[in-house]
């Protein structure tokens, strides 16, 4: 910039003494070359940004288009009555949920006939369309026996194949007859959709629920692992921020400059580059095998991720402490503040925005980290009895979002693949809200000098 404004005058001034004054209108060769290279450089920059934006758009598009189906689910909304006699009868049988399913499918066939559904269907077809409604129905009536004998509106999850048909994953062309779904069932599905019995609704259980078994992709939810990630982030934040900031203040403001502190500095920089799996195996050895903390618990995950995040926070905090002008320290010391007062009253508040940025980068890294979680068992975990007493704290077994996504992506049923993309959307939203919080905090701390 400066040489651009200076060069015409600077070039001209000494020329004045020579015989022929040079015209400013004529651009000389060197200037032309320089301008051309400047233009080229700008073009490279724009091209790089353009490429980045292109890939970002492609990524966002594929994530959203693949992940959106995970946020909808297909349900059958039906009214259905179980009488006291049917209840007693079913409870007396050996396969109780199966007995309810028989009652349900029979009731459905009568309902469908009343609605003038002309497509031929049998009880088995209804079973294939509806997932396994027996246990849902049984649990409802066991919990609410007073509802027996009156019509109750149920919202029952459709089977995952029907779900796939509804969101376009399965079509009449690529479906193969199996015990899960047959081509002829699709006619019945079409009719039920037309009559409003089969509906696509927002998939709340995906947001709030826990992971399901491999055979039930429809019931899989990311909620439990969101909570797991949240607890881990709390551990990371409350350990790494104070420890990291204290360490960097000491190293930057108080520690003497000698070989030992140099060694510590080099080691901190190196730690930031250590592969995360190394921290994972360290966590397994130290926290689980030596300290006997519970496996798969967010506290262990949080501790491991704290070790990973510390170098990032220390490096960025030291950089932002360094960036505070020394005149501020002099000013404070000059009026008789102690070193600690100078740091805490003046330097630290000015460094706060930078510290927050470093913290959020560290936390974002930790949030997306999968490898160490594999080693401490926060993966491949199927919740039982969720939500009662499950994700209630730091010590209970849980999963974390990236580990959960990894698990789903590795499963064979295509419906889980879709869940993985949906999980990524939730992960990104979590990250985004963390960033927004950091930006708000930054704004509050930012001060000009």
């Amino acid at each position: 910039m400066t040489d651009a404004t200076l060069s015409p005058d600077g070039a001209k001034a000494p020329e004045k003494t020579s015989a022929q004054p040079r015209s400013l209108y004529a651009t000389d060769e060197l200037t032309k070359k320089r301008n051309a290279s400047e233009k080229r450089f700008q073009a490279y920059g724009i091209a790089a940004i353009g490429a980045g934006l292109f890939f970002l758009v492609v990524l966002a598009y594929s994530i959203i288009s693949e992940g959106i189906p995970a946020f909808t689910r297909t349900v059958l909304t039906v009214e259905f009555t179980v009488t006291q006699e049917q209840f007693d009868d079913a409870e007396s049988q050996l396969f109780k949920t199966r007995a309810y399913e028989v009652v349900f499918t029979e009731a459905m066939s009568t309902q469908f006939q009343q609605k003038n559904i002309q497509v031929p269907f049998d009880v088995a077809a209804i079973e294939r369309i509806v997932g396994k409604p027996g246990s849902t129905i049984r649990e409802f009536y066991r919990a609410n026996p007073d509802q027996l004998g009156q019509p109750v509106a149920f919202e029952l999850a459709a089977s995952s194949r029907v779900d796939g048909y509804m969101n376009g994953r399965l079509t009449r062309d690529n479906i193969t007859d199996s015990r899960f779904l047959q081509k002829s069932d699709l006619d019945l599905v079409d009719v039920l959709v037309e009559s409003g019995i089969i509906q696509t609704v927002f998939n709340w259980p995906f947001i709030t629920g826990a992971d399901s078994g491999v055979d039930n992709p429809g019931g899989a939810g990311i909620g439990a692992s969101v909570v797991g990630s949240f607890f881990m982030m709390l551990v990371v934040l409350f350990l790494s921020l104070p420890i990291g900031v204290a360490a960097s203040i000491y190293l930057e403001e108080f520690a003497p400059q000698n070989k030992f502190t140099d060694l510590i500095e080099v080691n901190i920089s190196n730690l930031a580059a250590v592969p995360s799996i190394v921290f994972g195996i360290l966590g397994l050895a130290v926290f689980i095998q030596f300290m006997h903390l519970p496996q798969s618990a967010p506290i262990v995950g949080g501790l491991v991720l704290t070790l990973m995040t510390l170098p990032t926070i220390i490096i960025s905090t030291r950089a932002s402490l360094k960036a505070v002008p020394p005149s501020i320290r002099d000013a404070a010391l000059g009026v008789g503040a102690s070193k600690m007062q100078a740091v805490f009253h003046h330097v630290l508040p000015l460094a706060m925005p930078g510290i927050l940025t470093g913290t959020i980068i560290g936390l974002a890294q930790a949030l997306g980290e999968t490898a160490p979680l594999l080693l401490i068992g926060m993966v491949g975990f199927v919740a039982r009895g969720y939500p009662d007493g499950f994700v209630s704290g730091f010590m209970d077994p849980n999963s974390a979002m990236p580990a959960q996504i990894y698990t789903w992506a590795a499963r064979s049923d295509f419906a889980f693949y879709e869940k993985a993309w949906g999980g990524i959307i939730v992960l990104l939203i979590f990250l985004l809200s963390m960033n927004i919080l950091a930006i708000i905090l930054r704004r509050r701390f930012e001060r000009r000098w």
């Binding site: 003497p256 400059q257 002008p325 005149s327 501020i328 320290r329 002099d330 000013a331 404070a332 010391l333 000059g334 009026v335 008789g336 503040a337 102690s338 070193k339 007062q341 009253h345 003046h346 000015l350 001060r447 000009r448 000098w449």
Partner: protein
């Protein structure tokens, strides 16, 4: 360090505020200040002049131990204020700096309100028992620094929003607020325009009544205008020290003469 005869200490107390004896300052291997002996009179302005890098700022900073913040800096010899060796292990540099205030080359107000800038020192030293007392200290410090009229309506505005000259006077007010006995000024006007400089110089002249002032300056005219005594430093050595009048009109040393007549520097 503290082996000075008692009698000499006693005479120091009556004669001079600050008394330096064979002061050596080292920056790592560099011997920055060599054998400086100087007596600084109370309630007067003493100017340190000399070419860049001659050690005048370094010596100034030894008087309130600001050099302590640099790991590589070592000080030998003795500097006494009111007969007490400030490098004695019993001396807490924090207490020393409350007694010996400092104004820096570049105005460096805290990025806080004008009020908080002045109130910071009294707050950390517990000089005010309540808000009213603190208000009084702030008001009187700003008055003494000649800034009250300009600042009284904008005490809540940031100190960094003032002009350079006002900022420097704010820094002087901040130094005064902790009621020091000595004020060290390290080229306080080098970043200011002539009008702001004139105001600060006027202020220095007024402050002389109550404080012992030591000022480092690059401008010989300034030294001549504001100081009663002048010390000329060259290459880490105190070449000559005496009444300002004498130094400028009748220097003893050839180097001083060369410097003030502009032959080098």
């Amino acid at each position: 360090m503290n082996d000075m005869p008692k009698i000499e200490q006693a005479t120091d107390m009556t004669d001079s505020k600050i008394s330096a004896n064979k002061v050596q300052v080292y920056y790592g291997d560099t011997h920055a200040i060599k054998d400086v002996d100087i007596e600084i009179q109370p309630r007067s302005v003493t100017a340190f002049i000399g070419p860049s890098g001659c050690g005048k700022s370094t010596f100034l900073r030894t008087i309130n131990r600001m050099n302590d913040t640099l790991d590589i800096c070592r000080v030998k010899g003795s500097i006494q204020i009111d007969g007490e060796d400030i490098y004695d292990p019993k001396v807490d540099p924090v207490q020393l700096r409350a007694k010996v205030g400092m104004v820096f080359q570049k105005p460096n107000p805290f990025p806080k309100s004008i009020y908080d800038n002045v109130a910071y020192g009294p707050r950390i030293h517990g000089l005010a028992r309540n808000r009213a007392e603190l208000d009084d200290i702030v008001a009187s410090s700003l008055q003494k620094a000649g800034l009250w009229e300009e600042a009284k309506d904008r005490l809540d505005e940031p100190g960094t929003g003032m002009s350079g000259g006002q900022q420097q006077r704010l820094c002087i007010a901040r130094a005064i607020a902790v009621s020091p006995e000595v004020i060290l000024m390290d080229e306080p006007c080098s970043a200011l325009d002539p009008i702001a400089t004139a105001k600060v110089e006027e202020l220095i002249d007024e402050l002389r009544e109550n404080y012992t002032i030591v000022i480092v300056t690059h401008s010989m005219q300034q030294a001549a205008r504001v100081s009663q005594r002048t010390a000329f430093f060259h290459l880490g050595i105190l070449v000559e020290e005496g009444p300002t009048q004498d130094i400028f009109t009748n220097p003893v040393d050839k180097r001083t003469q060369d410097y003030i007549t502009g032959r080098f520097g």
